[in-house]
């Protein structure tokens, strides 16, 4: 084996109550695209934070280019040639691209010179980007390019990318991969974090798999199947959701030209959305984050009022009704943000069961609360959805993300909705819990409910939806049967590559 660029031996990092990384060792060769695979909570983030100097390891050693490497700060890591593109961007919307890039540099050159450098780099690597544009006007994919170019200007030897494709359309993913391959050809190593196995199969030379903070395997992704890698990640055989074939029934929810202005100045307004969902059917709604997903959920849950006739539920005009009136009719929702939206973090699970269950589960009579019934309802959710918690008296924030998500979805499903709208039902949830949630949604539809799943996970949508539509800048594409849709077609429904189809690597 050639001399490794980065050599990690026995890295260990413990936080109170949890060992995030336990004796982790692996090496990255120069010019290698190395995947770091693992479920949420497997310790991927902690590991890269140690490499990038954000967190100090408790024990273990790192070598970079043959020399001992122990960066006390990200600044030191960058000086050594390690760059990182984070999953969440740190950009100022009110500044232009060049100004944002300059803010991330140690000694920024004058603006005009910098703008020229940005153009050079963006042309060399096939990442078209105008340095004069305001970041606030850019799509998520273009914002990511700003972050990548900011890294590339430092001539990194190792580029760390954390879940880079979660905000991209399939076409944008292709552009990104070409860039990464070009970097690789020039000898830059890439540490690529993802749980999207198909991507890793196409892009990566080598994969290290983490589970519960430990390295549980290494493999060449090209020689493995997505399923075999998933099972290494989870440690058990995966359960694939199943469903029976059934003809859809009556129209339950009918949106006619629903337009809602966003309350948030950086939000996306909904523009003339048409859709019908029938009982027994799952409608999947895809789209890149920030294209109106939150607004659509709020308009359906009743948090944002709409014109009465724009939302029809079983023939009744309900656009003007609030959340509780809609719950009474049988239209339930589960928002994306678990803590602070779907659940109150500091309140107990019993109180959180009451939050949406008060009406349909009859937890209130004459305005007075029936605590024993509310606790019983919370206990039923915990039992039916395998929520891991000592009991319903615990605060919502004490649950892990996946467990709280099971609680939130379970709370709505157990109320037997006629129509359920969920946004990102398995976001941040481990694979086995995600499979359980998807199965529960399929079962709910099989029992005759209409289900709308809004998600950014295309694999998930293809797995469970009967029909598929995409949100793009607040508009919804016409729904199409999910069976037989190609990735290209889906990508075009999601808005393509935002006018970047012509981009080619020079």
């Amino acid at each position: 084996m050639t001399e490794a660029l980065l050599n990690i031996e026995g890295l260990t990092k413990a936080y109170p109550g949890v060992v995030a990384n336990d004796d982790v060792s692996f090496r990255i060769a120069p010019g290698e695209v190395h995947a770091l695979l693992g479920e949420n909570g497997a310790g991927k983030s902690t590991l890269v934070k140690m490499i990038y100097g954000l967190v100090r390891p408790d024990s273990g050693r790192m070598q970079f280019g043959g020399a001992p490497y122990d960066p006390p700060t990200p600044h030191a890591a960058r000086a050594m040639g390690v760059a990182m593109v984070f999953q969440h961007f740190s950009l100022f919307e009110a500044l232009n691209v060049a100004e944002n890039v300059a803010l991330g540099m140690e000694n920024p050159p004058p603006q005009r010179q910098l703008a020229r450098r940005i153009r050079e780099v963006s042309e060399t690597y096939g990442l078209p980007l105008d340095p004069e544009r305001l970041v606030g006007d850019l799509s998520a994919g273009e914002r990511q390019r700003v972050e990548i170019i900011r890294c590339l200007l430092q001539d990194p030897k190792l580029l760390i990318m954390d879940e880079p494709t979660s905000v991209l359309t399939p076409q944008e993913v292709d552009i990104l991969f070409e860039t990464l391959r070009k970097l690789q050809a020039e000898g830059t190593s890439i540490l690529y974090i993802s749980h999207k196995l198909e991507e890793i199969k196409t892009l990566c030379d080598h994969a290290t798999i983490l589970r519960l903070g430990k390295v549980v395997g290494e493999c060449n992704p090209r020689q493995e199947s997505a399923r075999s890698m998933a099972e290494m990640m989870v440690g058990t055989a995966l359960h694939t959701p199943t469903r029976g074939e059934k003809a859809p029934g009556e129209v339950v929810l009918d949106l006619a030209a629903l337009s809602v202005a966003s309350a948030n100045p950086f939000g996306t307004s909904l523009r003339s959305i048409h859709l019908e969902v029938r009982s027994g059917e799952i409608l999947g709604i895809g789209g890149v984050a920030g294209n109106g997903q939150d607004e659509l959920l709020a308009a359906l849950s009743g948090e944002t009022p709409a014109p009465a006739e724009a939302v029809k539920f079983c023939g009744q005009e309900i656009g003007h009704l609030g959340p509780n009136a809609r719950r009474r009719l049988g239209l339930l929702a589960a928002p994306e943000e678990r803590l602070g939206h779907a659940a109150a973090p500091d309140m107990s699970l019993t109180e959180n069961a009451l939050l949406t269950g008060a009406i349909r589960e009859e937890l209130v009579s004459g305005g007075f609360l029936k605590w024993p019934r509310a606790q019983g309802f919370a206990e039923r959710i915990i039992a039916a959805f395998d929520v891991r918690t000592p009991g319903p008296g615990n605060a919502a924030r004490s649950l892990s993300g996946g467990n709280l998500q099971k609680f939130v979805i379970g709370r709505e499903i157990l109320q037997r909705p006629a129509c359920l709208v969920v946004n990102q039902p398995t976001w941040g949830v481990d694979a086995s819990a995600a499979a359980a949630i998807r199965q529960a949604l399929l079962d709910l539809a099989a029992e005759g409910a209409a289900v709308i799943v809004i998600s950014q996970d295309l694999d998930e949508l293809m797995e469970i939806s009967d029909r598929f539509a995409a949100l793009n800048e607040g508009r919804l594409s016409a729904p199409r049967p999910a069976k037989g849709l190609t990735v290209d077609e889906i990508g075009l429904m999601m808005g393509g590559a935002h006018d970047m189809e012509v981009a080619h690597v020079a």
């Binding site: 948090e303 602070g340 939206h341 109150a344 500091d346």
Partner: protein, 360 residues
């Protein structure tokens, strides 16, 4: 280095302990303050906390405990509802004044008639006055999204001007030889809020305070509206998702706290104070904010905190009289209590870790 670490669950035990710890810390810091003023800190603390209850002249002070504690508790209970929901009524002092003016005005309008319904009518007028005064910030907030903290606070000064104008004009005692101030309601039997049990200080306002404590407890723990108030305070977005109408809550919380403050003003003017005068208000409305927090916004806690705060008032007056402590020192002492309470409050949700420095 000291590090704060978030607790997975808020600690109930620490939550109960923090007020006690805050009182102890206040005694220490207050003692240092008194020592710096050249007084013996131990004597000063004893004069404030011990003498009014068990000292030589305690028979006089004990009644004062309920007289001072009653309005504080009544106002603080109302404020605590809004504070729980993140609706900040800082103007209880103004609502208290307006309640007193309205209540006294109704009573004086009947003078010298003697009907049984005069006092109940005054009670209603007092509550209505406070309610309506609180509706000004409430409606401005729901209509124009103004800040209720500023509006309610500034309305206190408007109310004070109204009070002065009433004592000098409309409500001035016609038989008062031109002195400012209204007739003394205690000398007008049909309108007087007299002691219910002689020597205890127990009057209708104190009874109302106790009833308010019980009702607030039931509201917060057993009723949907109380749940919605707590939910809004914990997490406004989750509350909207849960079907809470934020504007309705603003009106309810400001209205209730205004009505209770108005009641407190009425009971005060018809009882202990006796008359509308320029210096009728003595800051109960502001001190009640401290009481509400000292009682951890919990009805039972507010009951105890109200009595404790009344004690510092009475003891503070005693210390002024016997030790010559300046009034400002007593106010600083009360301020310290709130400061320490908020400081140690952090411990409910965080625990202190003594850890080595970690380079971030």
């Amino acid at each position: 280095m000291i590090r704060l670490e978030k607790r997975p669950n808020p600690s109930r035990a620490v939550g109960m302990m923090t007020p006690v710890l805050a009182v102890l810390l206040t005694m220490v810091a207050g003692g240092i303050l008194f020592a710096a003023l050249g007084k013996n800190p131990f004597v000063a603390i004893k004069t404030i906390f011990y003498d009014p209850i068990l000292g030589e002249f305690a028979f006089y002070y004990r009644g004062q405990l309920l007289v001072k504690g009653g309005p504080l508790i009544l106002i603080a209970i109302g404020l605590s509802l809004g504070f729980r929901a993140g609706i900040w009524n800082i103007g209880a002092e103004g609502q208290y004044i307006i309640g007193a003016i309205c209540g006294a005005g109704v009573g004086l309008a009947f003078y010298p008639a003697d009907f049984w319904f005069i006092f109940p009518l005054m009670v209603m007028a007092g509550a209505a006055g406070g309610f309506l005064w609180a509706m000004i910030p409430a409606i401005l907030k729901t209509r124009f999204n103004t800040n209720e903290i500023l509006v309610s606070l500034l309305l206190v000064y408007v109310a004070e001007q109204l009070l002065a104008s009433m004592s000098l004009g409309l409500l001035r005692n016609p038989d008062g030889a031109g002195f400012p101030g209204s007739r003394n309601l205690r000398q007008y039997e049909a309108a007087a809020n007299n002691e219910l049990i002689a020597g205890t200080g127990m009057h209708w306002g104190v009874a109302a305070a106790f009833v308010a404590v019980i009702l607030a407890y039931i509201l917060l723990n057993r009723h949907m509206l109380g749940f919605q108030i707590r939910l809004t305070g914990e997490s406004p977005r989750a509350a909207r998702f849960g079907g809470v109408k934020p504007n309705l809550l603003v009106v309810f919380c400001l209205g209730t706290s205004g009505a209770l403050a108005g009641l407190a003003g009425l009971f005060e003017v018809a009882g202990p104070a006796g008359q509308i005068s320029i210096d009728f208000n003595v800051g109960y409305g502001f001190t009640a904010i401290i009481v509400a927090f000292l009682g951890r916004l919990h009805p039972a806690g507010i009951l105890l905190a109200g009595l404790l705060m009344a004690l510092t008032y009475i003891g503070g007056e005693a210390a002024q009289a016997t030790l010559g402590l300046p009034a400002a020192a007593i106010q600083a002492f009360q301020g310290m209590l709130l400061f320490f309470l908020l400081a140690v409050d952090v411990l409910t949700n965080y625990r202190i870790r003594w850890a080595k420095l970690e380079t971030a």
